[in-house]
Symmetry: C2
């Protein structure tokens, strides 16, 4: 043995409770939410806990007039977007347009109480509206039975809320992590395409249309009813669309003019209303929204429908839309918080969304979340706190009480133009190209969602993409990368020989770095890969003196292992033993070492075969090799003598 | 900058094709099957390739009489086991007993041609027999419509073969890796319990029984028909069972007497036959097998049933039993090969099983694989090559041609005793206790299979357990362990401060080691965990001088990363920048570095922030910190002056 003064620490085996507690903490409380009020006095602690669960109490006491000025402006700006978007998306969900306005009145207040993001603006979103229409519309036709359809949508919203609340309280925000950025990019892109195509119905003023959402069915529906095309409607639509796209272009060129593009949908609605009113548009084939009643949200709690025949479809719609809404809402809240170097709490956001949708489903609202367009406008308009949502709620209340009927003249074609324009901004070409350049598998995941949504259906596309992403995650762990290490000259560093061609290997010793984690799904692979390295090495050096006598496994990077993993090491050791090769373990992490000790592997190969650094291990092996060689030589000498 | 002579190698970016090819190779060809005949001449190469795909050609030319002596003995021994087991398991699958004998005649020949294991003995297995009965029996009653039921079993076997062949040719042996050892232990244990309970029907000579397999239904069925209990049958059964268990005990005490336990089922059958014949057992309520026709397997290819109404159930039965059969057969072949320091090729084994079942389904056989009991006997009897299977096939042929009718007197209670005794050996208490001690999650996975199979149904139990194992795999990647590193005194090593309490941290510098892989499902976690480390560190040292100024991320162990992972580094850098903290990356692996370069992260933080070793990075940071301090001090001095 050489004088390796640094030894592996075998003493630190932790109990099951300790590791279990720590694992649970890392899994469900990675942000350590309670560390803030750990050392406080009881009264102070209670206050802090309430403030933690209801963020309103944290920011409201500090609220002042200066902040209100910013929030007031932002609130009014987003209201002007909320009205046209609310009506448009409600039409997309095959709901009465007034439901869209209702959905922008109650939920913002709820979010202001429970939400932790300062910039998120609450509202309905296009993708979920269409997904609801697709899922529930397949069971109950919104045309033949509009009341039942409406009640089922409320029920689905209720399930969304319950699901979100449960996820939040069970700290299962981790589920949202499994919707990858690539999936969302592809899903949004695909959804944008099919929603745009859906709008051709409005633009051309068609009366008959398909209930399918895929590209092929929609295009067939558009072109098979050419006799219904109305050129007047198309002209108006194209003009509006050009105007909206122009304001969007303006914003991109001069970010300070964002308010023009924020107001433009409202302008389109108002101009559309006036135009429809004065030009008697309906006589020229331009359909209008029609019939918007004055008054606030009626209660809808008594309409929730839990009949067993509709339960599967409402639960399914609730879960799928709920998960997508969370992914969108949390990602958006998070990305704006990052710009300002603030943090949002994922699980708290989920709880806020949950309350929002449960209370929404009781008050004639359908699914709401934090849509990108509205949040971006809110952020740009300079909002400071969730008060901007409250302002929007108030403005919406005034609208519902006094102005709603004015919007009944809105031409459908104007709404279609608004939706189309919003959707065109969601197709993120640059991101897709970027994905293609950097990571081909991410690109495939993205395209699976994009093409799946465009050509099959929204949930199939989503599942396809999530399935691929999970498959990739499993492949990651099924085939962890391992490599052969060589010594960097003039140092004690050992690095991948492929990455650092200058590094040299040591005669008779093979140093391997294993990837993480080691567990049942990759055990066979790790065993075969390790033995293949040994085989390759012995293939290169055919002369007997160069044969491998020591294999060092560097486990620095291996953070977890399971039973089968430990057994694999036992097997590897047995096979190497049979070949006369000695196995040594370098720098096992605490979790790996604990399990090796429990499984008696440590005793089997002996504690002297564990090293803290590769250099120590190599020195020790070289010492053994040399003393062996000397012994052979001296015995040869003796024979000669 | 200090004189850090060892730099990160930025030059080695590989093309997409290179990485893709290497990934594919590692995923599907981890054992590099073609390396043997890479450098051979064409003719020689062709020969080697044929030998590779049909292992028969490899061992048959070298075969000699000495080897035959061993294989002959082993072959006869396993035949004596194959006859009673074949009849018993066929009864378990609700098939005519002769099918069990047929299944031990053709498949062994097929395996001898394609199989790569020297010790595997081919035969039917209890778990799959019961699973087939459960799956297909739910659709078509084997009592009311035995012919259709039989044909559906052949069809399921055909699908099993096709599925296995496809898996083998597509090199998807990787799928089998996902059935973990813990799952199989639990599944086997649970199956053993329910099969034992099923045998109470035979032991008590019951006429009415349940089609369910769960513990509760079976016990209820046994006790609700107490009027049917036959004490004569029970006495005979208990006597046989005691005899079988005694021989098993004998084998455990004296391994050399294994042949007694191997022959004992045959003894039980012969004694049972004689007893039934001379004591006119049927009159005393002891049922016999009845009607075994002479003659070889009739063709069954014309009976394969592809009617659409039965397709779902046959395909499902085929896939599930096929996968379990593979897991069992491959694991068993592998474990015996390891004892002898030989290797089996998983994908080649899968292809052999596939051919075996396809040809089997054409010749009135049902699902066969490599059962544990038979293989162990084969191994202990000293088999040397797959020739022992050929011998068994010949013996079985002779049995079918001449002896089959003799077995028609076998009492059912003897078969029940044989099955029970075999099953009791499959409940692996020690393994389950070992799992509990070493890895609690593995124990839960095992118990999920065990309890699921016992109390719900076989496929639910299996899916539950596989689901949990996959969930664990995903949790592994969702929460990779990271840790804070400290310097081991008197060395340049940096190790986990929790594991090595003696290690010391350096003022102003935080060194973190991140777990692998980094990708979409754990990005949020990694960001929050990293920031929490920074926060905690700054919480400890409140004095201004101790504030963190450098964060070093050690990426040595990170073997893969995706787009979202790279974006996380960008975010972490932005957040740290805002706090005035500098980020440096230590020893990124080739794949990580390539993606960082492609995503322009390398340029963003500057190549000078990449270090090859932690020591280099720390030295460089200390240099910056010191020069800053000196500058502040000198300016203070100047102010004072």
């Amino acid at each position: 043995m050489t004088n390796s003064s640094h030894m592996v620490n075998f003493a630190s085996s932790r109990g099951f409770c300790t590791t279990f507690k720590s694992d649970c903490k890392e899994t469900f409380f990675p942000d350590d939410p309670f560390h803030k009020f750990k050392d406080e006095k009881p009264l102070h602690k209670a206050k802090k806990i309430i403030q933690y669960f209801i963020p309103l109490f944290e920011w409201l006491p500090k609220y002042n007039l200066r902040l209100l000025r910013y929030d007031l402006l932002a609130g009014i700006t987003i209201t002007s977007l909320a009205i046209p978007q609310g009506i448009s998306y409600a039409k997309l969900a095959d709901l009465p347009p007034i439901i869209g306005l209702y959905s922008s009145f109650i939920p913002p207040f709820v979010y202001a109480i429970f939400g932790s993001s300062k910039h998120l603006a609450v509202g309905t979103v296009a993708a979920n509206s269409l997904l609801i229409a697709e899922t529930i519309g397949n069971k109950v036709s919104p045309k033949d039975n509009p009341t039942l359809y409406l009640h089922l949508v409320f029920t689905a919203t209720f399930f969304t809320g319950i699901f979100q609340l449960a996820l939040g309280f069970l700290r299962l925000g981790i589920l949202v992590d499994f919707l990858s950025h690539s999936t969302i990019t592809g899903f949004m892109g695909g959804t944008a395409i099919i929603i745009c195509l859906q709008q051709l119905k409005g633009i051309f003023g068609l009366k008959h249309f398909t209930t399918h959402t895929d590209v092929v069915s929609v295009l067939r529906a558009v072109f098979s009813h050419r006799n219904e095309w109305r050129w007047q409607s198309a002209v108006v639509g194209v003009v509006f669309l050009c105007f909206l796209q122009f304001t969007r272009y303006l914003r991109q060129r001069k970010p300070k003019l964002f308010w023009i593009s924020a107001m433009s949908p409202m302008v389109v609605v108002v101009v559309g209303c006036l135009f429809a009113y004065f030009a008697h548009a309906e006589k020229h084939g331009i359909n209008i929204v029609g019939d918007l009643k004055k008054g606030l949200n009626p209660p809808s709690i008594q309409h929730l429908n839990f009949e067993s025949q509709y339960l599967p479809v409402t639960v399914r719609a609730g879960l799928v839309t709920g998960l997508i809404a969370l992914a969108e809402g949390i990602a958006i809240g998070r990305s704006f918080a990052i710009i300002k170097n603030e943090q949002t709490d994922g699980n708290k956001e989920i709880i806020a969304f949950g309350f929002m949708n449960i209370i929404g489903s009781f008050t004639s609202c359908y699914l709401t979340t934090g849509p990108f367009s509205k949040t971006a406008v809110n952020f740009n308009a300079g909002c400071r706190t969730a008060m901007s949502n409250v302002i929007m709620g108030f403005c919406m209340m005034l609208t519902l009480l006094f102005l709603a009927p004015l919007f009944s003249n809105t031409p459908l074609v104007a709404l279609s133009a608004i939706i189309m324009s919003a959707m065109l901004g969601l197709i993120n070409y640059e991101e897709i190209i970027h994905l293609f350049k950097v990571d081909k598998f991410d690109f495939v995941i993205c395209m699976a969602a994009f093409l799946g949504v465009s050509f099959i259906s929204m949930d199939v596309g989503l599942m396809l993409s999530v399935g691929l992403a999970l498959l990739r995650a499993l492949l990651y762990v099924a085939r962890p990368a391992s490599c052969k290490l060589g010594k960097i000259p003039n140092s004690s560093l050992y690095r991948d020989t492929e990455q650092y061609p200058g590094s040299t290997t040591i005669e008779g010793i093979l140093v391997l770095q294993l990837g993480s984690p080691i567990y049942f799904a990759n055990c066979t692979y790790i065993r075969e890969r390790t033995l293949r390295y040994v085989q390759e090495e012995q293939g290169i050096s055919d002369s007997k003196s160069d044969v491998i006598e020591h294999v060092l496994l560097d486990l620095s990077g291996v953070s977890s292992i399971d039973m089968t993993g430990i057994e694999t090491f036992v097997e590897i050791r047995r096979i190497l033993d049979a070949k006369g090769i000695k196995l040594a373990i370098v720098n096992p992490r605490i979790e790996v070492l604990e399990k090796m000790t429990l499984a008696k592997f440590t005793d089997a190969i002996g504690k002297e075969s564990f090293y803290l650094s590769i250099e120590d291990a190599v020195q020790s092996c070289l010492f053994t090799l040399n003393s062996k060689k000397t012994a052979t030589e001296s015995s040869n000498d003796q024979n000669v003598a």
